[in-house]
């Protein structure tokens, strides 16, 4: 069974409780419709289990099939460099508006979010965060990421569905295993 080879650390973008018993890691692509479908599921589960669940997002842009995926991933990182909350706002915007991932739209989104647009634009033009995105991608490949989205629950690849019921059940099972071992 494939497992997460890159441990979650301070460099990661994490939402939810930092001492939660369960960490859900998603490798995703902002242009992937399945990632967009999983997005509200993750949000629902995070709000349902505020103390039990931590969510980490890592980039896995499929550049051969998604024209804007690499730029979008860098846009999230560029936003995040202006404050972690901006990473998540850009993340939400892009997954909720996947038809607006070209550079013009991304700059408009950055402006709407109140970012320093000049800095954001320079970061994108210089591909400042491309190495970070590529590092996420290669770490994902080594962990057995096999498409997008790929989820890991406490380090173990989740091969089941990512509809709300399946993911909730898998996370609750992991919470149960954790509390049983204490």
């Amino acid at each position: 069974m494939s497992g997460l080879t890159i441990p979650v650390d301070a460099e990661d973008h994490a939402a939810g409780s930092s001492d939660a018993p369960v960490t859900l890691v998603e490798y995703g692509d902002y242009e992937c419709p399945h990632c967009a479908a999983a997005h509200p599921v993750v949000k629902t589960l995070l709000s349902e289990m505020p103390s039990d669940l931590r969510f980490v997002f890592r980039n896995f842009p499929l550049t051969q099939i998604h024209e804007h995926a690499m730029l979008a991933a860098q846009a999230a990182e560029a936003a995040g460099s202006q404050g972690e909350e901006h990473f998540w706002r850009m993340h939400d915007e892009m997954l909720e508006h996947q038809d607006q991932l070209d550079v013009i739209n991304l700059l408009a989104t950055a402006s709407d979010l109140g970012l320093d647009v000049s800095r954001f634009r320079t970061d994108l033009e210089a591909s400042r965060f491309r190495p970070r995105v590529e590092k996420d991608f290669h770490g994902g490949v080594r962990s057995g990421v096999n498409g997008t989205p790929t989820f890991f629950i406490n380090g173990v690849r989740h091969d089941g569905g990512f509809d709300e019921g399946s993911l909730r059940q898998a996370i609750r099972a992991a919470v149960g295993i954790h509390s049983g071992s204490r």
Binding site: S2, T5, D29, C32, P33, H34, C35, F60, L62, T63, Q64, I65, H66, F137, H138, V141, R142, S143, G144, V145, N146, G147, T148, D159
Partner: protein
């Protein structure tokens, strides 16, 4: 040299240390590819059930993204399914695949049978991976549950072991 004998079905998936059976299959409607074409080169054989599975970044699309990593080990990737060459051509075009897909179509599943990874009930191959060294010996093999894309980590680990000189001998 790769074994060129044909027609021998394996009863179970071939394992590390066994000789990789040769095959000659259509990669396009008018081009054939044989395992023996790649003498001295490491080969990744990726058997999969069918073209056009309805997910983003399916197994072949994933491998397409990381071809440069496979190439850095000097390895050639070959995808194989029982789809016909015209279907493969459409799939290659749709997903912009940059490696050959071989058509194990006639006699149907012949190559899959010789590697022990044919599913008689469905008439398709298993989702199975074989990493073969330049002398034609299987160095690693893995059969994934049919619905589970195995990813690439196992392939890369096998190529790393081979590069480090930890080869399995026949």
């Amino acid at each position: 040299m790769h074994d060129t004998k044909t027609g021998q079905a394996a009863e179970r998936p071939l394992q590390a240390g066994e000789r990789a059976p040769d095959f000659s299959l259509l990669s396009t409607p008018d081009q054939r590819v044989a395992l023996s074409d790649f003498a001295d080169r490491a080969i990744i054989l990726a058997f999969y059930p069918a073209d056009f599975s309805p997910v983003c970044g399916d197994q072949m699309a994933l491998y397409n993204e990381i071809l440069s990593e496979f190439n850095s080990f000097g390895a050639q990737l070959l995808g194989i399914s029982t789809d016909g060459p015209w279907c493969h051509a459409a799939f290659v075009q749709a997903r912009k695949l940059r490696f050959p897909l071989l058509s194990d179509f006639e006699p149907k599943g012949d190559a899959a049978k010789r590697y022990g990874v044919y599913r008689h009930s469905e008439g398709v191959s298993e989702r199975a991976l074989f990493v073969i060294d330049g002398s034609g010996i299987i160095q690693w093999s893995y059969v994934s549950p049919i619905g589970v894309n195995p990813g690439a980590d196992g392939i890369l680990s096998a190529l790393e072991r081979m590069k480090a000189g930890h080869e399995v001998h026949s």
